[in-house]
């Protein structure tokens, strides 16, 4: 059972208090009428399924009822960070790759 830090409550609580809402940062198209059927289908139905870093939308449903985002590893289930809606993640696939490269002495 995951242990999740709610950025609104400022506390780490058990997964039982939360609900996952899938991939984060899915933005509703500004002008839906201009979307093709395919684009609209992509927006509603198609989601990434990465092995590794995943940014997810969660809600503290049994707590403050606020939504927030979490950066979670889909293999290890490690949660690197949680952050409020509107904020950008600090851990990304790219940042992890860069950190790994720098640890191995490779410079860009």
């Amino acid at each position: 059972m995951l242990n999740i830090f709610c950025p609104h409550c400022g506390e780490t609580r058990s997964e039982e208090e939360f609900h996952a809402h899938g991939q984060a940062h899915i933005v509703r198209p500004e002008n839906p009428a201009e979307c093709s059927d395919e684009e609209w289908g992509d927006y509603i139905f198609f989601r990434d399924n990465p092995r590794g870093i995943h940014h997810e939308l969660w809600v503290h449903s049994g707590g403050c009822r606020k939504f927030f985002n979490a950066t979670r590893h889909t293999v290890t289930y490690e949660i690197y960070e949680t952050y409020k809606i509107g904020e950008k993640p600090s851990v990304t696939e790219a940042s992890v790759a860069a950190a790994k490269a720098s640890a191995q002495g490779v410079t860009a």
């Binding site: 059972m1 242990n3 609900h19 839906p32 509603i44 809600v59 939504f67 290890t76």
Partner: protein, 1005 residues
Amino acid sequence: MSQVNRLTNGGRIDRSQPLNFSFNGQSYQGFAGDSLAAALLANGVDIVGRSFKYSRPRGIVAAGSEEPNAILQIGSTEEAQIPNVRATQQALYSGLVATSTNGWPSVNTDMMGILGKVGGKMMPPGFYYKTFMYPQNLWLTYEKYIRKAAGLGRAPTEVDPDSYDYLNQHCDVLVVGAGPAGLAAALAAGRSGARVILADEQEEFGGSLLDTRELLDGKPAAEWAAEALAELQGMPEVTLLLRATVNGYHDHNFLTIHQRMTDHIGEVAPMGMVRQRMHRVRAKRVVLATGAHERPLVYANNDVPGNMLAGAVSTYVRRYAVLPGRKLVLSTNNDYAYRVVLDWLDAGQQVVAVADARTNPRGTWVEQARARGVRILTGSAVVEARGSKRVDAARICAIDVAKHKVTSSGEVLDCDLIVSSGGYSPVVHLASHLGGRPTWQADLLAFVPGEGLQKRVCAGAVKGVFALGDTLADGFEAGVMAAAEVGFDAAVGTLPSVEQLNEEATVALFQVPHDKSTARAPKQFVDFQNDVTAAGIELATREGFESVEHVKRYTALGFGTDQGKLGNINGLAIAARSLGISIEQMGTTMFRPNYTPVTFGAVAGRHCGALFEPKRYTAMHAWHVANGAEFEDVGQWKRPWYFPKNGEDLHAAVARECLAVRNAVGILDASTLGKIDIQGPDAREFLNRVYTNAWTKLDVGKARYGLMCKEDGMVFDDGVTACLADNHFLMTTTTGGAARVLDWLELYHQTEWPDLKVYFTSVTDHWATMTLSGPNSRKLLAEVTDIDLDKDAFPFMAWKEGEVGGVPARVFRISFTGELSYEVNVQADYAMGVWQKIIEAGKKHGLTPYGTETMHVLRAEKGFIIVGQDTDGSVTPDDLNMSWCVGRNKPFSWIGLRGMNRQDCVREQRKQLVGLKPVNPQQILPEGAQLVFDPKQAIPMTMVGHVTSSYMSAALGYSFAMAMVKGGLQRIGERVFAPLVDGSVIEAEIVSSVFYDPKGERQNV
């Protein structure tokens, strides 16, 4: 029966406390401190069960959780039955009743055994797959008999009288296992002041310290363990959990511990006590000190009772003062096993010989045995056990380990007990539960925990540190490290002194060679519980199963309730040799929770019976109960379904209630409808975006019906929303959808439109709602309210504030029945009084309480949908013929608009909501029935829709239904047919879905 195998002295048992018990109907006696297995061995019980596939007699092999054979059924009464209890882990109590889980007619004379002997050759791995596969529909028949023959224990058929519970715990350091490493780790962490939980699955703390012959500080190791325990008991931050198996290591250092609180006292917990408890622990750090299991050697007939693990026999002798035989032969590849020889000699018994696979063992214990005159045959192994129901001899041959060959004809030695040791397998289960694969360490001949993502430290034998002194040191270090990592200042302190032993390396021997090929030699068992043999594993590899997971599934290796604790490593080694690859390349199968079986009681905890799920009651519930309501579950709510009078059945009551509403007045408790209070300057704009219809022009004091869609254009909720003030609205939702809708509103507000100033509050429980419906409702309401009910002053789809029954109320003039109707909302804590006043005043108006079934019929007569009954997430407002409720010209592209304009949503021949009128007016179409246009078509018929709602209408005098039919709105007047399961067909006419008062005149009076 006397305890023929009990020593007169020694052991950790209490001879002053004899305990009577029974096994397979026979009475026996043991002592307090015995495990059931120890007591059975003390009484000379050789056979405890029959094997799974070949029905061979089996005896006790081990002394701990790894026991594969002594899996018993416990309980003297039906309600107390527990299946699959390991006798080695069950403390003996007075009156314990145990039986074998398999063996017919009895374990001693087993009919199936003959089948096993005859059928042995005929039952290779994959036998069940190959034999019982066809015809497929007979599998259920086969399965019943296979299960009966296999003996998997049985669940009780009566309700468990005991209670179980959960306890949530938090700690700095959880130490798993209280052997030398675990006790040391707990001491180190505990001394630093950290909050420590120490859990051990046994009846006593101490693990191997309880029966080892080694000394600590010159004293028996058990004394050191007792001192350590006393110190831990004195630490206020340390919790000691006995009989507590840490069964699962879950994400983010969450561990589940199954503690048996009273199973050692009796089969039913004493009054007021919890029988078993599930500790749910969030630990900042975990020390895994789970130890290691001794691995048996695999040789011919190694399953005959009287074949045991070397270390287990030491445990029985030293801890339980039980001799599981008289004349012992040891077959080993390592030094540690020699302690059984010394213990056996100390107990005054005969050691016939030791077969050591190594060519020149010179370790301390080996020399001690040699010095005491034990015959040691080096470069040798027991290749075959002799005997049928009990070992009577062992055949020992010289072997070439590297070439896997027998190199001498050997000799047959009389004995009644063969003990073997093939080394130790660390208990890596918990370390691997989260996917960290164990790694093979060739020098140790063992898999040790691999890289862990969890915040854990391993200590002692689990990581291949086997020598007692090293184990203790490792435990202290692990405790220090774990405590330090969470901010506690810990120190190792002084270690007890241990005699250093000279230790000879172990040789890699798993399966002992036989002079015949594996396939032709007598059976060499690898997994006792599932009857998997070395020959079976070789066959699997020959048949092309190369992955360890495939070999496992094909042979059933490790599939028993013991999860292959004894046999898995041997099985991997045999498969690897057969494939010509290394054990490392072979790898292990996945380890999954639970480590040992957990009872359903412990899993359920208090969440059973009345506490299975929360129940929600309305403020008028007591009145409904007093007035004989039958209830229906809607979500968690208990809603009155109907109010039968004078023994009426559902149909009679609903017909009466329907007519009462149509002809006089009825009252419905509608409190369960979801109510969301919406406030803020942008509330109206928000409604425009989440509802399909327009809200811009809804005046204060008015209410409007709204449909809510998802982005795909499909209807997902509906309800009436009233404008309380220009920036204040009250939304109602379906009873079941209340939480979902609030979540939906919050999702869009918080993630998409945070700029809108609007706030949502659930007020479902704050307001109680009573619906008065029927032509007399105005007259009745007028008697209890000060609100002007004049039809022009208070028109349809308006709401008013005032007093009803003397308390503040909001009254909404809306209708879900098509009749003149008022929904009276009062604060929930006043509601019962108001309800009773209305009931009292309603007597002269023919007021009739009605339930959800009548509500469903009345709304269906009007063609009003119920979201979730008439819709299923694939239905647009157009499909429902509700285009009137879609504001296509609203400026903002509201949720659902783009979705319902997709090509698929605007095509011809979508299923549309229509009414159905059965040709025979007494026939009621079953809800869910599939519809066809041509009933004569051959199967599979072309299905064109289904019935969503169907009732008998008392007001109309005939049956009717609502249905989704392909292109239905263009087919009004045509016929459809519902072919039913019994072969009959109901014919119906497609009609408008509005059956009653199609012009809507009755609600507008």
